[in-house]
Structure formats: C-alpha cells, structure tokens
C-alpha cells in the first residue's frame, strides 16, 4: 500500500466519511510521501471549510410571502393580461359589481329619461315672447331680429 498514492481515496470519499482503516492507510503512506501528505492536509482543510460553510444560514425576511405574491401578480399581468383581469374580477366583483350597476343605472336614466320640450313651459302663456316667436316655427330655424319683430307685430294685429 505504501507505494500507492492515496489521492484516489481522497477523491472518491468525502473526508468526513473516511473509515479508520482508510485513515490509517493514508497516514502510513503519507509519512513517506510528501506529496500525499500535502494532499491529505488540503483534504482535511477542505472538509473543515465546507463544515463551516454549512453553519452559515440566512433566514427569510419578514413578510417574504407578500413579496412573492406581488412578484407573482406582476409576472402574471405581463404574461397573461386577460387571465389577470379575470382573476382580479373574481376577487373584487363583490364590491365592484354594485358600484358599476349604480353608475350604469344613473347613466341610463340620464340618457333615456323624457326631456321637457321648451314649448311646454311657454305653452301656458299664449302671450309670452317665446310663444310668439316660436309658434309655428322650427326650433332649429334662426330668426333675425327683424323677422321676430314682424311676427310679433302680425300677432298683435291679428288679435
């Protein structure tokens, strides 16, 4: 065994898993072989270093799950905007739906409710200026001052 270098054993087995027999073999060989002695020392050091590495552990920060969920939502919005909308709708429809219903009802009432025509306010007073001016005329028709005075004059004359 003395003639056989022990680096193969060191490569094949983790240092901490070496058996007593293997360590005895390594020591016996390393006493006469400076190269293997260095390799053995380095293997021992590597094992000690890795052991120390195992002791260092980070803990998750507080509210880490909130951060993950936020990242997840962001990713989903970018990847599937429609799916993200439906997810949002499912989550918030209880609040959003009644509000939307009220807004739409108000809009419908505003658009489709019957408007009071302008003649109706003037209809009660036969002698009002509006009645005189607009009687028998289209609202869209614009009158000049002269035409309006002419109509008033004719109206008075006919009475």
């Amino acid at each position: 065994m003395k003639s056989k270098h022990i680096t193969k054993i060191l490569n094949e087995t983790a240092f901490k898993d070496l058996s007593r027999v293997e360590i005895a073999e390594i020591n016996a060989h390393a006493d006469d072989c400076a190269r293997c002695q260095k390799a053995f020392q380095a293997a021992r050091m590597s094992s000690a270093l890795l052991e120390n590495r195992a002791a260092e552990v980070f803990e998750p920060p507080p509210f880490f799950e909130t951060r993950v969920l936020a990242a997840l939502r962001e990713k989903q919005i970018v990847a599937k905007p429609i799916a993200a909308f439906w997810r949002w709708w499912r989550a918030s429809s209880v609040v959003v739906f009644p509000i939307l219903l009220v807004v739409m009802t108000l809009m419908a009432l505003t658009i489709f409710s019957p408007q009071q025509p302008l003649q109706a306010t003037a209809a009660s007073d036969d002698f009002s200026t509006e009645q005189i001016i607009f009687q028998g005329n289209d609202f869209n028709q614009t009158l000049t001052t002269a035409q309006a005075l002419q109509i008033i004059y004719e109206q008075n004359n006919s009475k």
Binding site: A43, N52, V57, E59
Partner: protein, 206 residues
C-alpha cells in the same frame, strides 16, 4: 381564516393554489421558505442572492404546482426546484478563474496557517474563525465550475447520498459519482495551492 390554512395538508394547499387561491400559496411560502432559504444559503454568500433565488423558486413552484401529484413530499419537490434554480443562477454567474494568495486577507491567511499547524488535532473554531472560514470557502468555491460546487454542497454540507443527489439534479448516479470525484479533486487542489503559497509567504516573512 389564516389559521384554517395552517391546518391544511400540503396536497390540499397545492390543489387550492392551482385553483388560483393566493392565500393557500402564501401558506406554502410561509411553511417552506425557511427550508428554501437554508438550502439556497449553501450556494450564495450574499443575502440578496439568496433572496433572489428563493423568490425565483417559489415563482417556478407556483407555475409547476399543477404537476405536483403528492407522491413525494412537497419539501422534497421544492428542494429539487431550489437545486435546479441555484444551479442555473451559478451557471449564469461568471466563475473566478483562480484564487491566489494575494486575493486573501490577513485573517484568511492566518486561518489557513493555524489549520495547517493544528492539522492533526480537532481544533475547535471560534465564531470569528468560523466566519473567516465561511468566507474563505465561498471564495474557493467561486473558482470551481457550477456543477462541482453543486455536488460538493449537496454531498459535503447537506450530507446527501449519491442517490439523493441524482434525484435532486436529474443526473444519473454514475454522473454524480464522477462529478463528485472531480469536484473533490479540484477543491483539494485549489486549497493545496493556497497552502503552498501561504507557507511560502510565511517563510519569506521570517
């Protein structure tokens, strides 16, 4: 409400998460983030990188939860995702070619020297020494290829067997054996070079 989620099994939480139940997924994150952080800590020495890896793990997990059938433990399933995520992050990062003694600070050289002197004894480390060693090992690991680092971390610090590493990585058992063989040799050679140089530097000082 949150308490009711705490009582649910992993499989039930996974099912609910697949149905877009965010509270169920939040419970999975709460339950397993310590394990994922602990595992990812083996690969990175910067907290920000560990957090980045852990977040990536849970985002991947959410997207792949529909494939989780509850045959193995959710912890094991998440560990596999953590392994591949960390390996990918390591592959994306640039490797340092070699660690030379000029890269080491005084405390790291002292640590190596003290270990060389007390090599035959089981020397107890102080907190400070442990911190120095942890930093030093990271710097040595940074010089190794990602696959070597992965196998060393899994086998030497996590105590995983060849079979377990094969399951976690998806490699064959013979590949794990070969990879472990090479990784140990490279790590040992890297430390050996440092030891030679520190010894030389000590001799020069004297």
């Amino acid at each position: 409400m949150l308490n009711s989620y705490k009582e649910l099994s992993d499989l039930e939480l996974a099912r609910r998460s697949t149905d877009q139940d965010e509270a169920a997924f939040a419970e999975i994150v709460r339950r397993y983030s310590p394990r994922v952080f602990s595992f990812a800590s083996r690969f990175f020495r910067q907290r920000s990188l560990v957090e980045e890896a852990a977040q990536e793990v849970f985002l991947k997990a959410f997207l792949q939860l529909k494939n989780y059938e509850g045959r193995g433990s959710l912890e094991g399933w998440l560990t596999r995702i953590t392994t591949t995520t960390c390996l990918n992050l390591l592959r994306n990062a640039r490797n340092k070619l070699e660690l030379t003694v000029s890269d080491l600070n005084d405390s790291e050289i002292n640590w190596l020297d003290s270990r060389a002197v007390f090599a035959a004894e089981e020397k107890q480390s102080t907190e400070e020494e442990r911190a120095i060693a942890a930093d030093l090992v990271n710097r040595v690991l940074d010089t190794l290829p990602p696959d070597d680092r992965l196998v060393l971390i899994l086998m030497e610090t996590e105590g995983a067997s060849i079979k377990e590493v094969a399951e976690m990585t998806g490699w064959s058992e013979s590949k794990v054996k070969v990879q472990a063989f090479r990784a140990r040799r490279r790590m040992r050679e890297s430390v050996e070079k440092l030891l030679n140089k520190t010894t030389v530097s000590e001799k020069v000082k004297k």
